[in-house]
């Protein structure tokens, strides 16, 4: 059983520079065909101040902290037993190439299903740009398999 007393824990926040090359690579990896996601010129022509980060790009930002998924070590979880249960984004603004985004993350909830065979860890993250504008919020529900239960 994961340690439920950790609900409410806030991980150290960190900052990420939104680089054009990274946005292009991400757009390519998801097969994006809309050039506002990989061409600065196209983004300008469409009225945007810079290339756009795709709607799911806040999730990759979570991976840019000092360690991959700090919750794993924090709760002593084995990555091979981890599945992604659900993901939610709320958008209050946009993320552009050239931005510097501050990512915060905390453990919002923990619970189990199927008599403990599946444990859920719910993370809540915020993404704030260099102007102090909260541009997105996310809720990420991780599923931890306990095959022995």
């Amino acid at each position: 059983m994961l340690d439920r007393s950790k609900v409410g824990h806030e991980f150290d926040s960190f900052n990420v520079d939104i680089e054009k090359g990274r946005l292009k690579f991400f757009a390519e990896a998801i097969g994006e065909t809309n050039p506002v996601y990989f061409s600065e010129t196209a983004a300008h022509d469409a009225g945007y101040k810079a290339m756009l980060a795709a709607p799911t790009f806040p999730f990759p930002l979570d991976m840019e902290g000092p360690e991959l998924l700090p919750v794993l070590n924090f709760l002593s979880m084995d990555i091979s037993r981890l599945l992604h249960g659900s993901q939610e984004f709320e958008y209050l603004g946009m993320i552009y190439a050239g931005d510097n985004i501050t990512v915060t993350s905390k453990i919002k909830d923990m619970f189990d299903k199927k008599s403990g065979a599946l444990e859920f860890v719910v993370l809540e993250s915020t993404y704030t740009n260099q102007n102090g504008d909260l541009v997105a919020r996310a809720i990420n529900s991780l599923v931890y398999r306990n095959p022995s239960v």
């Binding site: 991400f26 599945l83 993901q87």
Partner: protein
């Protein structure tokens, strides 16, 4: 936007089949280096038949469908649960239907039910989105 009513289906998106290259590129581009998606040896040790796709890859496909329909600046909310694992060689199709029209934050918005299915019509991602009209 009188052409958008409850029941309106937005243009769907069908993707090329998922290959190991797809997963390797997505792992690199997303920073999600969990070996269960890129290392068959690791995946088998974890009790899986092989590597399988990142859920967030299919969510990105749903996102492409949404921003093909309306500019991203009009996207307000986007969520899904990961219902079934997406396997190698799966061909994913994303679709969405308007289920509600409402006013919020001083603007007209549409709520959509969105879904990703594989070639056997099994739902892999089930979610919803809110888009300003």
């Amino acid at each position: 936007m009188s052409d958008i009513t409850i029941g309106t289906a937005i243009p769907s998106l069908t993707l090329p089949s998922i290959s190991r290259t797809t997963l390797a590129l997505y792992a690199g581009a997303s920073g999600d280096h969990n070996p269960i998606h890129i290392d068959s040896d690791f995946a088998k040790k974890a009790g899986m038949s092989d590597v399988f796709a990142h859920g967030m890859l299919s969510m990105a496909y749903l996102g492409r469908m949404l921003t093909n329909w309306k500019p991203q600046s009009q996207l307000r909310k986007f969520s899904n649960r990961f219902a079934t694992i997406t396997q190698l060689q799966d061909v994913i199709t994303c679709s969405g239907t308007v289920v509600e029209l409402f006013e919020e934050g001083g603007e007209q918005r549409a709520r959509l039910e969105i879904v990703a299915v594989n070639q056997d019509d099994v739902r892999t991602l089930i979610g919803e989105a809110v888009v300003a009209l």
